[in-house]
Structures are given as structure tokens and as C-alpha cells.
């Protein structure tokens, strides 16, 4: 899922300068699962805004709302009407939600309450880790299911660099060397010989370096 993190409150309060009515809009998609922008977080942030404004002696009306998702047009529909009543919509969705509101709901001023970080998995309660870089040209079939693009600090294609020591990455002893893990994994399947082949230089276009990406499935188009 998409992992996000709430922006520092100070930054959010700066966005609310001069705002009298704000809608704190959560999302029940990924950001709810990673405890960054679901119902609960909407409540907490709304309370923090009220308290913060109160301390400054300013008045603000904060309305809390959480949509099923902010990345599908049908769920955004209510915002067309609702949004008109607010000076600002503070979206607690990932960047996709903020963009989508900006695109689809004209006349509504939207700002982000989160920093969208990465595609990751939930290791344990409160801990998420990057697993995929969305590079658009998957090589996981060659690397035992472990991604060198997302999980190697230098996105190497051809094995561990000289900084790999004891299965750890040189940039941080907390970070495992993914190439070491790939090697061990393939060795476990007796497939380590496949790492003798040189992986050719990558085409980075599918990863977004060829311009903004779009996906079309003709058969599903209306």
C-alpha cells in the first residue's frame, strides 16, 4: 500500500493562516491502514487544529469528514457541493487524493496534511518498510522476489557493492544488504548461477523518467 506520514503540525498551521472554515478530509484507503489519514487521524488532527488556533486566539471552524477513498471520482462527488462551504480542504489522503481533488473539484482550495512517502508493507504494528519503487519494469523474477531497485541504496543491478559487510548495507547497519539476501535466497534454490549473467542497463522510462505515467485498459473504458 501507499505509506504516508503526517506533516509537522507547525507546517499545517501555517497553511491555515487566515482560514476560518476548514474541512479535514480523511481517506479510508491506504493512509487509513497505515494510520496516517483515517477516521482516527482526522479526529486527532482536527482537535489539534482547534487547540492550536485557540491558543493563538483565532477562531476557526473545523469540520471532520472521511471518504471511502479520494482516488475514485464517485467518492469525491459529495465534495462538489460540500467543498463550497469551506475556505480550505485539508486532505489527509496521499498525494493522489490531493491531486485528484485539485483536478476534479474546481473552486475548492485543497492542501495536503500528509507527506506521501513510499509503497510499503506493514512489518509490525507501527512499522512500515519500502518494498517497491513502482519502477514499471519488474525484475523480481530474476532476484528471488527481492527488489534491488527499491531496497538497494544505489539501486544496483549486478550484485552487492563493496560496502556489503556481514549482510548489512554500508549506509546503515540497520539496513540489510538486499543483494546479499538475493544471493542467499537464490543459493537456497540452487539458482545462484543466474547471478553470473549481467543485467543490462535499465530503461528508466517506465519508472516515470519518460514523463507522467498513465494506464489504459481498452476493454474497461466506458
Amino acid at each position: 500500500m501507499i505509506i504516508a506520514n503526517q506533516k509537522p503540525l507547525g507546517e499545517i498551521m501555517d497553511m491555515l493562516e487566515g482560514v476560518r472554515r476548514v474541512l479535514v478530509l480523511g481517506c479510508r484507503g491506504c493512509v487509513a491502514v497505515c494510520s496516517a489519514g483515517g477516521d482516527k487521524e482526522v479526529k486527532i488532527l482536527a482537535s489539534a487544529i482547534r487547540l492550536g488556533k485557540g491558543r493563538k486566539g483565532e477562531e476557526i471552524e473545523v469540520v471532520e469528514e472521511t471518504f471511502v477513498r479520494q482516488c475514485d471520482p464517485e467518492y469525491l462527488e459529495p465534495l462538489q457541493e460540500m467543498g463550497k462551504d469551506f475556505d480550505l480542504v485539508l486532505s489527509m489522503a496521499c498525494g493522489v487524493g490531493v491531486n485528484f481533488i485539485a483536478d476534479r473539484v474546481p473552486g475548492v482550495k485543497v492542501k495536503p496534511a500528509l507527506n506521501t512517502t513510499f509503497f510499503g508493507a506493514n512489518l509490525s504494528s507501527g512499522e512500515w518498510k519500502e518494498m517497491c519503487a513502482g519502477c514499471g519494469a519488474c525484475v523480481l523474477h530474476l532476484t528471488g522476489g527481492l527488489c534491488p531497485v527499491a531496497r538497494c541504496a544505489k539501486s544496483l543491478s549486478n550484485g552487492p557493492c563493496g560496502g556489503s559487510q556481514g549482510g548489512r548495507c554500508e549506509i546503515d547497519p540497520e539496513v540489510p544488504c538486499i543483494w546479499h539476501e538475493i544471493y542467499e535466497k537464490l543459493k537456497g534454490f540452487n539458482e545462484e548461477a543466474s547471478l553470473e549473467t549481467i543485467m543490462p542497463i535499465r530503461d528508466w522510462r517506465p519508472s516515470g523518467h519518460g514523463g507522467p505515467r498513465k494506464r489504459i485498459r481498452e476493454d474497461l473504458l466506458p
Binding site: K154, R168, L195, I198
Partner: protein, 1054 residues
């Protein structure tokens, strides 16, 4: 020769090479580079110029390399992949060649994290191996990385790579080095070596891999400058192996620097002896002065003389050099002139004194002076010429720069990439379309195959004949021959093809709608055809062709349907005479069956056929079938009833499988094998039963309060009394609304806008209904909760390997007999339902065969009256097999089957739909996956009123909170946001999760307390928590935990 560099010629000539290292300054001061170069000059064959090592900004390696070259030192330019992409790197490579650089060392580069700009974006467009490949192709194939040809002057570079023998995994290091050599490395410089033994092993492997025959390996050596530096390298530099011996030597040394140099010399002497080592790379980091000493002591002097070509420098440097040369010449000439002048003066004076004597001498001196002056003017003229030439050169350079070669190149590249992009998008969409078409084709192929499987399908069909009737509108499957394909072999494609267009048919343009209608009709036709209803299928195909006469699939289907009809006719014709051949009107007994069995099956089939006929209102056929059945088995009740109905002309109408459950329920006791005729009994019968039912219901009502209240003794269930007697919750007598006082209701009331569907499990009066809530769990002040949550007892179908003591106490005597176990749960503990866990079928465990497990399961199902949930082992394929086997045997009971996952929902869903059974839809703790599976099952035709959602739960301490929040979110979506696809009740397999926890297995001790109390509470609290999250049916094991949970439920339900 590749590049003709000094390093290359020394290595190819077989001499032992020495290279050094020069770190460019963190400034623009060229004198630092020059000074360092001069120190190394004459002591090394080439000098590595680092490329912003450790990611600290320094003078670029290209520039510093040129400065070294101007000092007559051959540079090895280093290039990393960290700071430039392939465009920048190729540009610099071309430039390096143009300016006389001949060696290039290709590196990935240190991560920017280590440097002075950790905020920088690391480029890493490629890695070192891919860089080697790229430069090799530029050099040998004269093409850029993109494939475009390099016209007129490819970069001739002697390529180097780095290797670290001390990084991990050790055994992969030589292989990775081989990759570098394969990619194009001509020479290799290793990481600093202190552990010579490990390096020897590394070299041995390199020799074995043939690396040393294809490239030159230079061993890396660094003199430790201080003890602190050695310790730092040992502890903080990844991939450096500083031995304790080295540390020890430095610690004991009087002069640490001297010892450092000795260590380096010793290592050089050792590595020289290792086969395959072609030279050394001496890196004296910020200690260049040590290099001459080390090289001298290691007896590597003198170095072969390097033939360095003069380097063309930047314009400013040229001006400066010219200026300096002019100044020097001027000074020299001025000096000479003044000297000559003095001499002339002196000689004049002398001449005056000795006029006569020196007249000739004066003449000679005059001539000499004149010639000197000539020489002077000639020199000045030459300087002027040189200056003019240089100015012209400078002007040319400026002109070249201004022509803007770069911009034209980039425009061309831009156009090309745009073209390819468009092309690529086109290909992608065409591919997607292609793929979609192919998968649709595959579905149809599968369907055809199934139609071809007639003989194999025959046996399966017989089992499903009765089940077929349950399906509305699909009842009259013709049970006469192999024409009808079996329900269980239904391929996944047709239901989906029907479902998808329906789902998507929101606001579509007319054309699409028509196309979709065709697809729909074809799919429907295929489905019908596949169900054996060829005639109906024919009409569908015809309809489709009316809309779109060109549709290939409809045409093919039409043909198929026509074939099927003619095949069926011939089959029927064959069938009749064959039936007459046998004495009693039975076809010959097939292999593997006794005559008796065959006869019984034939009777069932006849009755089924009769029932079919009844639905089709074909009175004559029905009568003849039932009569034939009665001839074979005069006592058969179903046949008698059928005959009666047929004669009276009572044709049943059938509404939906759901109602059947309710209608049938009271009649459970009648027959073991439920006849088809009962599937939809006439209304009169229902009334009869209703009249008969009340006394029994009263009994049940009486029994229940006893059990819940506890103290009242029930003679047969001692354990149950003991258990339930201990737990009583004090009920809150005043309602919430009274207690809340004056707080306005709209402050706390949140009425649900949706409600949970009801699901019935089991038959007769023991059937249980779960779901139906229109409020959050136990929020009775907000809405209805018509059915209290239910608890099922978990029964394992094989003796578990270990069972915690608190459970063993209750189940020890029946562990290896699931029938006894289930009976015990029902009679002693008053179980509301039984969950039979088919753990024995797990392919990773006992791997009991499906048929064996099915037999046992049937015994259990027959032995108890309460509803049974069949819970597979979790292996999708095995569960499909086992559960089908069981449902085929147990046609008369509405068991609940599960778990259905995304891997087997089609097959098991079809089975459940055929039999009208409720299912458990299992997903791994995820709202979206749960919803998706529900949608898939609905598309298949199974309603939400037959689905129990298993969200995959965790016990307290084992992820309960995660389960809780997912369940809560599902429930809120179902109730508050009208998310209809999530309005199914929850089932939670609590027992299984709790009783594998560590805490229930640890014996009683002071810290953890009594084992039994602990484990009961763990199970009860897990169950209670999940009930609060919306759980409607929980599966548990410990009777006391069940009693505790039940008491809680009763207390809360008021």
C-alpha cells in the same frame, strides 16, 4: 594496444606495475594537484584521480587528471555513477579522450550519504558493470549507449574496475569480478589489503575462474599513517579487513609512520608472490610523500620511463605559460644585455687606455655585439609569432564553442524519444487488448473441453443430479446420459463473462451497450450450453446474432448448441432400447459397483428424472419414471410421493434456494437421504409441519434458559452445569436511555443506514441464524440486533499432535474419535453448532485422502443434529476436493463450507450454489480483499445471504488489534456507508488461533498464574473482543471459555 597508455604497455609487457592515487583538492587550486603529481612522478606508472571520493565535492577527476598529465604523470581517471546519468558520463568520456586521458576506472561510487551533501539525489542511472559495458561498446563498437554510431573518433580508453575481496558474500566476490571482466574491465585494482591470507584465497578463485588470464589484477596497498587511522578503518569502513597483527605492530612501534611504511612494503612483498597479481596500487591517502619511500624499499625502482604526450591545456593556462616563458626569456636576455653592456664599457675603457693595441679587438667586439643584438631581435620576433599563433588558436576554440553543437544534438534526441514514446504507447494498448482477447478465448476453450469430458463427468454427474434441481431455472438437467456436463466441472470462465458486463453496465453509450449485450448473450448461451440446456442456449445465440450477425463467438456457440441437440437426440434414442434390454429396466451394472448399489443409484436417478419432469410439467414422463423406480424399490417413499404428486398434477414452483432452507427445516427427521421432491414441498405440507412443530420448540425454549442461567441442574450435562454455573454477569437493569439522563440523543445516537444480511446455517429447529443487525454490536439503543451472536465448538478430525492440558482435561477420551467428540460437544456442552476442522487433510501434515476424510466427516454430520461448519485445512486445491466429496455425500444437510479463498472460490462457490449451502469467505485481514471476494462470489451467483466473512483473526497478543480494526472498518462501511458488498456476517475462528498461542501451553507458575484460568481467559477475551468488533459466529474450544462468552452475550443482549 587498446589505448596505448603507459599503464597498458607496462602491464602487457609483463612488468610488475605500480599505480598511485591522487585526491583532487576541495578547491580550485591547481597547484595542489601539480605538487602532488610531482611527488609521485617517476615512482608510479600511473596515478588514479579520484572522482569526488566519499561523495565529497572536489575538483573534477577529468580536470585534475589533465593537470597531472601536464606535470608528466599519467592519470587513471576515475568515474562514478553517482553524480551523472548516461548522457553526462558519455559526454565526459568523449572529452577525456579528446584531451589525452587514456585510462578510465569505472566505479559505482560511494553513497551520497557519506559525503558533505547527503541531501543530494543519487543518480545511479547504471552500476559499475553497466558503465564498463557502455564504455567498452563506445570504444570497440563505436556506438553510444543508445546504439547510435559514434562517427569520427571513438574514445580509446584502457578500462579499469575495482574489486573488494573482503566484502560479503565472500564466495560471490570472484564471480562478481568475472562479471566486470565480461563487461569490459582490462585491469582491476583491489580494495586495501591487510589480510593477505584471505586475499590469497580470493586470488586462487580468480585464477580458477580464468579471470587473471583476461585482465590484470593490481593489489591495493595503503600504509597506515597512524594507529587511530588503522583502528578507524578496522571499525568504521565497511568492506575493510584490518588484521589485529597490523594494529599490534603499530601499537608497539616507536615510529608509527616508519612502521606504517614497513607494513606496506611487507604486504607488497607478500602479494607479489601470489599467482595472478600483476602489480600494486599504492594508496597513500593524504600522505603522498610515503609513496617514493615505499616503492624504493619494495625494490620496485627504477620505473620504466613513461612516454607522455604533451597535453593541451585550457586557454588560460596557455596564456599563463606563454607569459611566463616570455618573462623568463626577457629576464635572461636583459641580463645578457646588461652583462654585454658592462663588458663593452669595460672594453671601451680598456680600449681608451690601450687604443692602439685594441683597435682590432674593438672591431671584433662591435661585431659580436651586433650579432647578439640580431639574436635578441630574432628571439623577440619568434615570441611575437608564437603569441600570434596562440591567439589564433584561442579564437578558433571560441568559435567552436559558440557553434552550439550540443543544442542540435539534444533536439534530435528529443524528437526520437517522442516518436518512440508514441509508438510504445500504441504497442502497449494493442498488447493489452490482445491479452484480453486471448484470455476470453481461453475461457471458451475450457468450456469446450468440459463438454468433451462426457464420460469422466458421468459419475460426478450422478452425484449432482439432485443438487442440480436446487438451482432456480437450472433444474431440468437431463439425467439420461453423458450429454449434460457435471456441475462440479464447471469452468470458471462463463460466470465471469456474464458477471463483468453486468457490473460495468452503468452509463454506457448505445454501441457499447449493444456489444455488451451480445457478449452477455453469448456468455449466457455458453453457460446454458454447458449446463446441458442446448435448446435454450440456441435461442440465446440466435438473439445474439440478431443484434450482431457478425459475432464469431455467437456463431460458434450456435453451431455447438445445434450439435449438442442432435447428439442428445441420438443419445436418447440409444438409451431407450438399451434400457429395455435388461430384465428390470436397468442398464448393465458399470464396473466397480455391485448390482445392488447400481440399482439403488438407478432408482435415485429415476426419481431425479421424475422430479425434473415435474418441474417441466411433463406429467407422463414423471409418472413413468416414478413407476419404474417403484418397480425396482417398492418401498421408496420419495418415489411414492413423487408419483402421487405427478398423478394429481401438482407441479412445484421454485423460488430461491434460501427459502428452501426455511421450508425444509422442520422436516429434518424424516429421511436420511433427502429426496428431491422435498426440495420444494407443496404449501400444505408446510402448514402441517408448522402445526407439529410447537411442542418441540417449547422444549428448546425451556432448555435454553436453564443452560444460560446456570444453577438449574440438567441431569445429562454435568460439565456444562459446572461451567456455566460459575459465570454470571450482573445485568444492567436501567436502559441506556434512562441512564443517560438529560443529554440530548442526537449527541450520541448514530443510527445505521444499512443492515447486515441474515445467514441460516443448518436445518430444522436446530438451525441457527446469524446476522441481521442494523446497529453496531450490542448498541441496542441505536438499532436492532435480532440474533444474538452464536458460538460453535471446534472439533478436529484427527488427533492433534499436542493439546494443551486445559483442553485435554475435557476432550482426552475422544481425541481420536471426532464423532464422539462432536457428540460430547452437543450433548454435554449444549453446542449451538459444531465446526469440524478437516486438519487431517493438510498435504503438509497427515495428508489424509479426500474420500477418507469425507467418510469420517459424514459420520460426524450424521451423528449430530446441530448445524455443522466444515472447515478445510487451508490448502485451496485439497479443500476443493475434500469439500466437494463431502457435499456430494451429505446432500440432505445444510452444512456450511469453508474456507473459500480467491484461489478456489469458483469451484467451491459453484458447489455451494448448487446445494444452496452457506460458505465461509476467507481473506487475509484486508477490507478491500474481503469486499472483492464477496463481489466475486456474488458475480458467481452466490448471494450475500449465503456468505460468512472470515477476516482472518489473531488472538490477544497475536495481532488482535489489527483484526479488530479491519473488522470494525468493514462493519462501519456496511452499516454507515451502505457498502452493500460488505453487509455479510462475520465468522471468527477463535479456538484455532488461541490454542496455538504460547501462553496457553506454558504450565502454571507464579508469574503467569494458573494455566487453565489463563487459557480460558485468553480464549474468552479474544472472542469477546471480536464480538465487539462485529463477530456474529465464533468458533471456540474450551467449554468454560464458551460459557463465559455466552454469559457475556446474554448479559449484553438483555
Amino acid at each position: 594496444m587498446i589505448s596505448g597508455s603507459n599503464l597498458e604497455s607496462i602491464l602487457t609487457s609483463g612488468q610488475f606495475a605500480v599505480t598511485g592515487e591522487l585526491g583532487p583538492p576541495k578547491s580550485g587550486n591547481r597547484d595542489i594537484v601539480r605538487k602532488k603529481a610531482r611527488i609521485l612522478k617517476g615512482y608510479v606508472d600511473a596515478v588514479n584521480i579520484t572522482d569526488c571520493q566519499t561523495a565529497i565535492v572536489r575538483m573534477s577527476s577529468l580536470t585534475a587528471g589533465l593537470l597531472a598529465l601536464s606535470e608528466g604523470v599519467e592519470p587513471v581517471m576515475q568515474m562514478t555513477c553517482r553524480d551523472r546519468n548516461r548522457i553526462g558520463m558519455q559526454a565526459d568520456i568523449l572529452g577525456a579522450h579528446a584531451l589525452g586521458i587514456k585510462n578510465l576506472l569505472c566505479l559505482t561510487g560511494d553513497h551520497q550519504k557519506f559525503g558533505n551533501h547527503p541531501q543530494a539525489k543519487g543518480v545511479f542511472d547504471m552500476d559499475s558493470i553497466q558503465l564498463l559495458q557502455m564504455v567498452k561498446a563506445m570504444r570497440d563498437e563505436r556506438r553510444f549507449q543508445c546504439g547510435e554510431e559514434i562517427k569520427g573518433g571513438e574514445p580509446r580508453l584502457f578500462l579499469g574496475a575495482a574489486a573488494n575481496p573482503f566484502a560479503d558474500p565472500f564466495e560471490y566476490r570472484p564471480i562478481r569480478l568475472k562479471k566486470k571482466v565480461d563487461a569490459g574491465a582490462n585491469f582491476v585494482q583491489t580494495q586495501i589489503i591487510y589480510n593477505v591470507e584471505k586475499f590469497k584465497e580470493f586470488m586462487k578463485r580468480c585464477v580458477d575462474l580464468g579471470i587473471t588470464e583476461r585482465c590484470y589484477i593490481l593489489a591495493g596497498v595503503t600504509p597506515p599513517k597512524s594507529l587511530g587511522m588503522a583502528r578507524y578503518m578496522k571499525n568504521f569502513v565497511p568492506g575493510l579487513d584490518v588484521t589485529d597483527e597490523v594494529i599490534g605492530r603499530l601499537k608497539d612501534a616507536k615510529d608509527v609512520r616508519e612502521e606504517g611504511i614497513n607494513i606496506a612494503v611487507d604486504i607488497i612483498n607478500e602479494v607479489r608472490e601470489i599467482p595472478g597479481v600483476a602489480g600494486v596500487h599504492v594508496m597513500a591517502i593524504e600522505w603522498e610523500e610515503a609513496v617514493p619511500e615505499i616503492v624504493k624499499r619494495a625494490n620496485l625502482l627504477p620505473r620504466p620511463e613513461a612516454k607522455i604526450e604533451p597535453v593541451l591545456m585550457g586557454a588560460q593556462s596557455i596564456d599563463e605559460a606563454v607569459e611566463q616563458a616570455r618573462k623568463e626569456a626577457e629576464e635572461r636576455l636583459q641580463g645578457e644585455i646588461s652583462r654585454y653592456k658592462e663588458e663593452v664599457e669595460a672594453s671601451k675603457r680598456q680600449a681608451e687606455k690601450e687604443k692602439e693595441e685594441s683597435a682590432r679587438e674593438i672591431n671584433a667586439l662591435k661585431r659580436e655585439m651586433a650579432s647578439k643584438e640580431d639574436e635578441l631581435s630574432e628571439k623577440e620576433r619568434r615570441i611575437q609569432e608564437l603569441l600570434d599563433a596562440l591567439r589564433a588558436e584561442k579564437a578558433k576554440i571560441v568559435e567552436l564553442e559558440s557553434k552550439g553543437v550540443v543544442s542540435t544534438v539534444s533536439t534530435v534526441a528529443g524528437e526520437v524519444s517522442e516518436e518512440t514514446k508514441v509508438l510504445e504507447e500504441d504497442i502497449v494498448s494493442r498488447k493489452q487488448l490482445d491479452f484480453a482477447l486471448r484470455s476470453m478465448e481461453a475461457g471458451l476453450e475450457a468450456l469446450k473441453k468440459v463438454l468433451g469430458l462426457e464420460d469422466e463427468a458421468f459419475e460426478a454427474l450422478k452425484r449432482f443430479i439432485e443438487a442440480e434441481f436446487v438451482l432456480k431455472g437450472e433444474g431440468p438437467a437431463v439425467p439420461t446420459g453423458p450429454v449434460t456436463p457435471p456441475t462440479e466441472k464447471r469452468p470458471p470462465a462463463p460466470p465471469e463473462e456474464v458477471a463483468q458486463p453486468v457490473e460495468a453496465a452503468g452509463e454506457e453509450p448505445e454501441v457499447h451497450k449493444r456489444a455488451k449485450e451480445v457478449v452477455n448473450l453469448v456468455a449466457k448461451g455458453n453457460l446454458l450450453l454447458h449446463q446441458g440446456k442446448a435448446a435454450e442456449a440456441l435461442t440465446e445465440f440466435k438473439k445474439a446474432l440478431e443484434i450482431d450477425p457478425e459475432d464469431e463467438k455467437a456463431k460458434a456457440g450456435l453451431e455447438e448448441a445445434q450439435k449438442a441437440i442432435s447428439a442428445k437426440e441420438t443419445e436418447e434414442q440409444k438409451e431407450e432400447p438399451r434400457a429395455e434390454e435388461t430384465k428390470e429396466g436397468i442398464p448393465p451394472t458399470p464396473e466397480g459397483l455391485t448390482d445392488e448399489e447400481w440399482q439403488r443409484k438407478w432408482v435415485i436417478r429415476l426419481i431425479a428424472t421424475g422430479n425434473c419432469a415435474l418441474y417441466e410439467k411433463d406429467q407422463d414422463k414423471a409418472i413413468s419414471c416414478f413407476e419404474q423406480a417403484l418397480r425396482l424399490d417398492p418401498e421408496n417413499e420419495k418415489a411414492k410421493r413423487g408419483l402421487e404428486a405427478a398423478k394429481k398434477g401438482e407441479f412445484p414452483t421454485y423460488e430461491s434456494p434460501r427459502e428452501e432452507v426455511v421450508e425444509e427445516a422442520p422436516k429434518k427427521e424424516e429421511a436420511e437421504e433427502r429426496p428431491v421432491a422435498e426440495a420444494a414441498p407443496p404449501e400444505e405440507k408446510v402448514e402441517e409441519v408448522k402445526e407439529a412443530a410447537p411442542p418441540q420448540k417449547e422444549e428448546v425454549k425451556e432448555a435454553k434458559p436453564k443452560e444460560e442461567a446456570g444453577p438449574a441442574p440438567a441431569p445429562k450435562a454435568a460439565a456444562a452445569i459446572e461451567v456455566s454455573g460459575e459465570f454470571e454477569f450482573k445485568k444492567e437493569e436501567t436502559s441506556l436511555l434512562d441512564r443517560i439522563g438529560s443529554i440530548p440523543q442526537d449527541l450520541f445516537m448514530e443510527k445505521a443506514t444499512g443492515s447486515i444480511r441474515e445467514v441460516v446455517i443448518g436445518d430444522g429447529e436446530k438451525a441457527i441464524t446469524v446476522g441481521g443487525a442494523s446497529a453496531l454490536p450490542f448498541h441496542l439503543f441505536e438499532g436492532e440486533m435480532p440474533h444474538a451472536p452464536k458460538i460453535a465448538y471446534d472439533v478436529l478430525d484427527s488427533k492433534p499432535e499436542e493439546m494443551p492440558e486445559p483442553l485435554l482435561k475435557y476432550y482426552e477420551e475422544c481425541l481420536d474419535d471426532p464423532v464422539k467428540w462432536a457428540k460430547k460437544c452437543e450433548t454435554e456442552f449444549n453446542a449451538q453448532a459444531i465446526c469440524l476442522s478437516l486438519v487431517s487433510t493438510d498435504p503438509n501434515g497427515l495428508d489424509r485422502s479426500s474420500s477418507e476424510a469425507a467418510k469420517l466427516a459424514k459420520e460426524v454430520i450424521d451423528a449430530v443434529e446441530c448445524p455443522v461448519i466444515l472447515w478445510g485445512c487451508g490448502n485451496a486445491e485439497k479443500d476443493t476436493e475434500t469439500l466437494r466429496e463431502i457435499t456430494a455425500m451429505v446432500t440432505d444437510k445444510k452444512v456450511c463450507i469453508g474456507p473459500l479463498t480467491d484461489a478456489n472460490y469458483r469451484n467451491l462457490g459453484a458447489t455451494a450454489m448448487a446445494m444452496g449451502l452457506p460458505v465461509v469467505a476467507s481473506t487475509p485481514i484486508d477490507v478491500n480483499l474481503a469486499k472483492q471476494l464477496n463481489i466475486l462470489l456474488e458475480n458467481l451467483g452466490l448471494g450475500l445471504d449465503h456468505i460468512l466473512m472470515d477476516p482472518s483473526i489473531g488472538a490477544v497478543g497475536y495481532g488482535l488489534e489489527y483484526t479488530y480494526s479491519v473488522m470494525e472498518r468493514i462493519r462501519l462501511a456496511a452499516l454507515m456507508q451502505q457498502d452493500e458488498k460488505l453487509q455479510a456476517p462475520f465468522i471468527c475462528n477463535v479456538g484455532r488461533e488461541v490454542w496455538k498461542a504460547k501462553e496457553v501451553k506454558l504450565p502454571t507458575d507464579e508469574m503467569l498464574g494458573d494455566q487453565e484460568v489463563r487459557s480460558i481467559l485468553l480464549e474468552a477475551i479474544t472472542a469477546a473482543s471480536l464480538l465487539f468488533a462485529g463477530g456474529e459466529l465464533v468458533i471456540m474450544r474450551h467449554p468454560r471459555a464458551v460459557a463465559l462468552t455466552n454469559a457475556l452475550i446474554q448479559g449484553l443482549m438483555g
